[in-house]
Symmetry: C3
């Protein structure tokens, strides 16, 4: 049974998501539709890029991922379909896929050209669903588009490294449901540059000199519970996606606050790592 | 495989939605359950009407739609099931279906009368699920209710037209995830009354003299990017549901603001269209 | 087809939920995955307990319930799997299951011990999914854990009863989507202690001397509509889960206010019932 996932900025109130699912079910008798997220901030391509990057590859090979963020077609924002890492992606060519594609070379990229027959101001419904169902039925990308050599790049994903290779400047690329802030510095990059040296991570007024492998790794469970300083404990970890994340142990953004609120950090704020 | 959709004001935190899905899966071995929306504002029948109207007909014929908004049974709020446009709808007789039914005559309407055997304060779980599963198994409406000739009307859907046929007063009936405001003036009505004349749409202090066919249609892509005035550009379009919508190009209600916040427009605010 | 439900505090924006579903679909060809809730307040075990208790048993016997709240493994927070009431539950041993287990004795409890082979800071993805799929394929609990005699108890579920058996002190354990406040006093306990006596329920400055069986039961539909005092009417009912709930008739927390906001009640606030 083919699997089609949805990642959009439609929210969960509007009829859009329901309409898209209905259209898929009208074309395919047997299909599994999975919501990845409909809460991408409106038109926020970097958020969408982070979310799809960290969800897609737990799905089976052959899964078809529709990304409906900033997807209206314009002279500068064409629609594309990609085969990459054994998965299929359908989205606008607005940089969303450049985060994944910077690490894994796409097997094929086509610019979708079935539009001549379709006039629409709801391209996810009228174009992306058609392309997804075509792929789900075993159709090839060549039938629905013409091959192009590469996709648009989003530059903001790249951390900056100084010439002496002892300083790395990244930024906050995502704030999660717990208010923890995810940087764009991957474990791989950190280790390649750091080479085991001591380091200090600084973001506004907080700093860290250790990166944990898990949240609870920061807590000393040998100490009796009342002496443990769990509450509000700040820590840096390599998160489940292997990026450096600045966190508060068991935070709740709606009550006691979170890393984002307590450290005063926002999306795109910079973080600096100095190796010594 | 039968398809059952859910449109409710249950929100997405409470156990209600899960319980309803469990009850359906307990009755039917093979069924596809699709969430249309659980974020209808509590008891807001017009929002529910707009959402179901704009999602239902992308589903295949034969789909069963449960609408769980203001569904507690009272002497004035009976439960009904409808066959309409090849689809089935189960809801309270509180006007929710009058928006769809004003355009497409129901094939059959029954007032559900299986209640004598059921005492409940969760009718969606205890009544609507039973009716939906009955229909999914191929059962007829006559078995679960008695035919009635018509449903309750919600008056607020109708725009007002003056005698000279040169002025049309509608209102805001929905505010979407991007903060764009959707009026109750359909493209069809607009064209029937306007007959190609010039016009001005006014809502509070904003006005428009052109309606675009898509968001990007309002942007001049021949101009270089820095001269384009995309940001915050206001526009009127016929939206994906073919209603007049007042929008801000690429708005984000949580950051830069939206049509609703920037124009100061709320649900039920009126808009006026003058033809000249 | 096996059914796996998800109850987490992941929210609906992050990639976590999508990743978990992808992992399940990678292991099982045919499976129905149902979201119960991803909006549990971060690390809030009592909310999770209430939600799972009131959703699980409408599902068919044999359903597998994953509860991903406060699930990081620590020396004090082991992972468990339970067979209870014909269902399976997979969660951390942090008290979440004690609300259900206080009423229905688990048939089997195991402490999961497949961790030696898995290093993870995303245990729902890396441990719970594996255990769920093992059970879905017909595997036994003994294969993935060692039997333990009992689970950790959450004390806060128990209302207090005075020696004279004429006073009962409970608290608010959940606030629902309509802002109605659910107490931890069950209909069964209320009737066992009250034995039909008159009573007064007091919470802050509001009090009630009657408990309705449904919301509309509080409205006199014989009176003409304009004299009915529906708006803002306060009432106590036995809710769909058979707990005492303090409510406002047709409230909307985002506009006119709700029981929680109008009565000034918060989670864990106490309520007192005096029998006379």
């Amino acid at each position: 049974m083919p699997i089609i996932t949805l990642t959009t900025d439609f929210g969960q109130k509007d009829p859009s998501t329901g309409a898209v699912k209905g259209a898929i079910l009208s074309e395919l008798d047997a299909v599994t539709i999975v919501d990845i997220s409909h809460q991408v901030s409106p038109f926020h391509t970097t958020e969408a890029a982070y979310i799809i990057q960290n969800a897609y590859n737990s799905f089976p090979k052959g899964t078809i991922h529709i990304i409906g963020v900033d997807s209206e077609i314009t002279p500068e924002n064409k629609h594309i379909a990609l085969a990459l890492d054994g998965h299929f992606f359908i989205c606008a060519n607005n940089g969303i896929m450049s985060m994944i594609a910077s690490e894994i070379k796409p097997e094929k990229i086509v610019e979708i050209n079935i539009h001549d027959a379709v006039e629409t101001n709801f391209p996810v419904l009228d174009i992306f669903v058609k392309v997804a169902c075509h792929i789900a039925r075993g159709g090839t990308l060549e039938v629905i588009g013409k091959t192009i050599p590469q996709i648009k790049q989003l530059k903001e994903f790249e951390p900056f490294i100084n010439q002496d290779q002892n300083q790395l400047v990244g930024h906050i690329m995502y704030i999660d449901n717990y208010g923890n802030v995810v940087t764009n510095v991957s474990k791989k990059l950190f280790e390649n540059i750091g080479k085991g040296r001591d380091f200090t991570i600084t973001a506004r007024s907080v700093s860290f000199s250790k990166i944990h492998d898990s949240y609870s790794d920061a807590i000393n469970f040998d100490a009796p519970k009342e002496k443990r300083e769990e509450d509000g404990k700040k820590l840096a970890i390599f998160n489940a996606s292997n990026y450096i994340e600045l966190a508060i142990y068991k935070s709740n953004p709606r009550t006691v606050g979170s890393a984002a609120s307590l450290f005063g950090l926002k999306l795109m704020d910079s973080i600096t790592i100095k190796f010594t």
